[in-house]
Amino acid sequence: MYRNNDGGTEVGLSVHKLSKTFETKKAVDQISFEMTEPGVFGLIGTNGAGKTTTIRMILGIIRMDEGTAAWNNAPISRETMSFGYMPEERGIYTKSKVFDQLVYFGMLRGMNKTDARNSTSKWMDRLGVTEYKDMIAEKVSKGNQQKIQLIAALIHNPELIILDEPFSGLDPVNTEMMSNLISELVEEKKYIVMSSHQMSTVEEFCEELVMLHNGKTILQGNLRKIKAGYGHTNLAVRTARDISALAKESGMTVITRHADEVEYSITGDNMADAFLSRLVGAGIYPIKYEIREPSLHEIFIEKAGE
């Protein structure tokens, strides 16, 4: 840990004004953030927003045009720190045995052969893929290949873990496995940077985030505070009868309409109170009446649409 330039907060990961231009396209434009506590940091945005380029610059895979990326106040490099990286484009040696290549990845990260073998066995057991250890990787299912890729990132017990779109392409069972693993890593006080375009998954894990759009930061900070800043803007109502006329009279607009539930946009708690009184006055008793903050998805749509 180190003290940042303001002499204030101690930080682990510090990214300062990262920029990258490919030919004429500015892929990343002056992105800055800090990760001061163990946990999950979200790097969110649509495809092409600049998430992967930002990660690649942080890890030194591609050179940044401007800016700095530091871990404990020292430049990040594969030689000086221990980080684990699961790239968005999954890549393993398809013609090699699973166990052999994981040991190889471990040794490349500085482990000796015995430690690499032990760690590989431990992680394969933990993720339930031990039965594939002597199998050629291309014969293993996609989901299990993804687990192998994850083991390659975690095998050397890194301090900082960067997961680029970790939930992409996973079925529900493996999504659950990945969620559980991330939770366990958080309990182990790991620093995790997770990029995703799936807002719901980020919302589940991240306290702090940066939202990117066309290479620029459009929103940044603590997720709870961001949402709290928006106030109660959504009202989800489930009733036995049609209430659309009453809602329209109350000045509420529909955000989403499901089979048995409608979500309305409201200006605040007063509007929700008034609408509830009106429903009860009309003899309609809601089965569900939920006032809540906007979802990250809605915030993103609003911000990216500006």
Partner: protein, 410 residues
């Protein structure tokens, strides 16, 4: 260094386990053994062919008896051919037979301008008989007979047909054995450098196209990956080559007779010395490194494995032109300037210098200059290759030009 050795170990182990490597090794070992047993096979079959079985037939027509004893002389020279005395009235019949049968031929002696004319008819120009040698055989006989009929004494006739004795001397040290082995080595060097260099480019291209590279590159320096791979494939080549050589030497010792000759050339490994062996090994390592580094860049440039061959074309052209330059310099009596250029040029020296070494046809100064140039070229090409490789291994999508890659800031 540890990372280089890790990449080396993994690449080497994976390559050795590949079916293609195992099958090609076994196949070539079998071919080496078969080649070593060739002398035994040749002597076995030639002992059979020395029996009285005559496979060919030659009609001999000399109605005017212009060359006395010609049929007997032909039979004595062409032991595999039965000389059948024919008639001039059946010449067309014989021709029709020859047209359908390559084992048949016809010699007709007629008179033209007061002298005999020998006409040889064969199915193709590739017949074992040729008109010139038939003429060389029969001419002295005809001249002797003519001179004798004109009253010239036997001693004068014999003198008139005598040939001035001659012998050939070679001022240099190149002998048939060194020459043969040199040509063989030249071809083996080209094949090895191309084949194992191709292995490097294939390995790099596979890592890039299967996206393993992104995992590798955060773990190891690109230069370490590149060097480790080149070392692994080079060692694989040396190991495989040593196996072939070992089996070849054992086969040579056990199966090839000491007095065996191939097309008149003695087969001997005497041209190999410890010094020449060491220098040949050095040229293989340096030559292979030079081409492997360039091939690695080719592998890093492609997005799809099927594009690899077209990406390798420039390097293939360089290696082919260099090989043929070396081959021409070895085989033909080219100018000293051309010989020097091929010996000093790093792309061609790994092909021509081993040939020259086996034939002691190169000075120490030439070796020093050649090796220095080769080491410098490996260093320069290595630095450029590492830079381009680093820039291109994670570049997907639009094809980049080499110059763009080199100047890319990464």
């Amino acid at each position: 260094m540890k990372q280089i050795m890790t990449v080396f170990g993994f690449t080497f182990r994976e390559a050795v386990k590949k079916k293609a490597f195992i099958i090609s090794t076994i196949l070539i070992l079998v071919i080496v053994l078969v080649l070593c047993s060739l002398p035994q096979l040749i002597s076995f079959f030639s002992s059979k062919s020395t029996s009285d079985v005559k496979g060919n037939t030659c009609y001999f027509v000399d109605d005017a008896k212009l060359v006395d004893g010609a049929a007997a002389a032909l039979a004595a020279k062409y032991t595999d051919t039965e000389i059948v005395l024919g008639e001039s009235s059946k010449i067309e019949e014989y021709k029709a037979e020859i047209k359908d049968n390559s084992k048949k031929s016809m010699i007709v002696i007629t008179e033209a301008g007061g002298a005999p004319l020998i006409t040889l008819t064969t199915k193709t120009f590739m017949s074992s008989m040729d008109a010139k040698s038939v003429s060389e055989l029969l001419s002295p006989m005809y001249i002797s007979k003519t001179l004798e009929s004109r009253g010239i004494d036997g001693q004068t006739i014999a003198f008139s047909q005598s040939v001035i004795p001659f012998k050939a001397q070679i001022a240099g040290s190149m002998d048939a054995s060194g020459y043969g082995l040199g040509i063989l080595l030249l071809m083996i060097m080209y094949f090895s450098i191309y084949y194992y260099g191709y292995g490097v480019s294939m390995s790099v291209a596979t890592e890039k196209t299967t996206r393993v590279m992104e995992t590798l590159i955060v773990s190891a320096k690109p230069s370490h990956i590149l060097i480790g791979k080149c070392l692994a494939m080079g060692s694989l080549g040396l190991m495989q080559f040593s196996m072939f050589l070992g089996v070849g030497v054992i086969g040579y010792k056990l199966m090839i007779p000491a007095d065996f000759t191939l097309m008149g050339m003695p087969l001997s490994l005497s041209a190999f010395t410890l010094q020449s062996g060491f220098l040949i090994l050095l040229y293989f390592i340096l030559g292979y490194s030079l081409y492997a580094l360039m091939n690695a860049v080719c592998g890093a440039l492609v997005n799809k494995i099927e594009d690899l061959n077209s990406a390798m074309l420039p390097v293939m052209f360089i290696s082919m032109i260099s090989f043929y330059a070396g081959y021409i310099a070895a085989l033909t009596d080219t100018s000293v300037v051309f010989q020097r250029i091929t010996m000093y040029l790093p792309f061609s020296s790994p092909f021509i210098v081993p040939f020259k070494l086996l034939n002691s046809d190169i000075s120490t100064m030439d070796i020093v200059i050649s090796i220095s140039a080769l080491i410098a070229a490996v260093a320069v090409v290595g630095m450029i290759s590492i830079k381009i490789y680093t820039a291109s291994v994670l570049h997907y999508g639009k094809k980049m030009k080499l110059f763009d890659l080199y100047k890319t800031k990464i």
